[in-house]
């Protein structure tokens, strides 16, 4: 059966890799690439998969935008079956110096957006009595590094939301899981120097960063029929760092 997959933050390295993984491994699926202003890379991917991948404008912090996106997906084909809440960003500062809006922006984009997305996606999944939600959390939710009180709290919140919603939706055939990626190639702050990256790799048991497709593979598995008894789980994918 054809599935509609919605991936937010689809112009970023991880979002693109997840989208491409679905498109390459599941011939019948249709992938919707949730984007905001930056859309050049998502457009490139959609052009490579005509008729199977489409961009969808989605401001993830806006509940009405979510409703419109889910409705649009329904009009274009199969109802939404898989939601990957991938959009997010961090804006680091020590708590003592953190502005109120730095806190709020990060909580809005990383935690409140997941709430809005799940709430928008659930009715369609409940009607189908099946669905897969995969929330992209972060290793920061577990390791809570200094300078990331906002981001760590938001991502830890995502794990809590995931576990609670999993209990609420289990009997409806809907699974809700989270993954916690570590450092990902292409997802690191551009201001980090080569020396810094080199030193960082030395601290990693595998001495390399994750390739985006290594995270995408786990997301794809959690969204597959093979993962039907896995719900409320958090999968750490960090090359053994923690």
């Amino acid at each position: 059966m054809s599935r509609s997959i919605l991936i937010t933050g689809a112009n970023g390295a991880l979002g693109l890799a997840i989208a491409e993984f679905f498109l390459a491994r599941e011939d019948s699926c249709r992938v919707f690439l949730g984007v905001r202003e930056r859309r050049d890379k998502a457009e490139g991917l959609a052009a490579r998969f005509p008729g199977r991948a489409a961009l969808i404008a989605l401001e993830v912090t806006c509940p009405d935008a979510w409703k419109a996106a889910v409705a649009e997906i329904e009009t274009q084909g199969a109802p939404l079956s898989v939601l990957v809440n991938n959009a997010g960003f961090h804006e680091d500062a020590l708590l003592a110096n953190m502005a109120q809006d730095q806190w709020s922006r990060v909580l809005d984009a990383n935690l409140n957006a997941v709430f809005h997305g799940c709430q928008a996606a659930l009715p369609a999944m409940m009607r189908q009595r099946q669905g897969r939600i995969v929330n992209i959390a972060s290793l920061s939710a577990i390791s809570s590094p200094a300078g990331q009180t906002n981001y760590s709290a938001a991502k830890a919140g995502v794990i809590g939301l995931t576990q609670s919603l999993a209990k609420e939706s289990a009997r409806m055939g809907i699974t809700v899981n989270a993954v916690c990626p570590g450092y990902i190639e292409g997802g690191l702050p551009p201001e980090w120097t080569q020396e810094h990256l080199k030193a960082l790799k030395m601290q990693l048991p595998m001495r390399r960063f994750a390739r985006p497709e290594e995270i995408a593979a786990a997301v794809f598995f959690l969204a597959s029929p093979d993962a039907s008894y896995i719900t409320g789980s958090t999968l750490k994918i960090d090359g053994g760092l923690l």
């Binding site: 409940m126 009607r127 209990k167 009997r171």
Partner: protein
Amino acid sequence: MPTRQRLKELMISELMLDMTADEIGDDTPLFGPAGVGLDSVDALQLVVMIEKHFGFKMADQDQAKRILHSVNTIAEAVDQKATA
């Protein structure tokens, strides 16, 4: 199939209840330990199930609370809507 029997069979399959239709009394409270033992998650599913299979949409939470009391109260609401 009579509405009450259909409701019971739907409840058993959709709420994944490990019981038979005969074990659910028409007047047995659906929620709480003294009754069938459904919980708040089941309530949400019941609302969706009734809308999907009988085309009956709950107006608000108060109405849902009244109607979802037992198989009888649901059947009455559903049948009333069908004849309205």
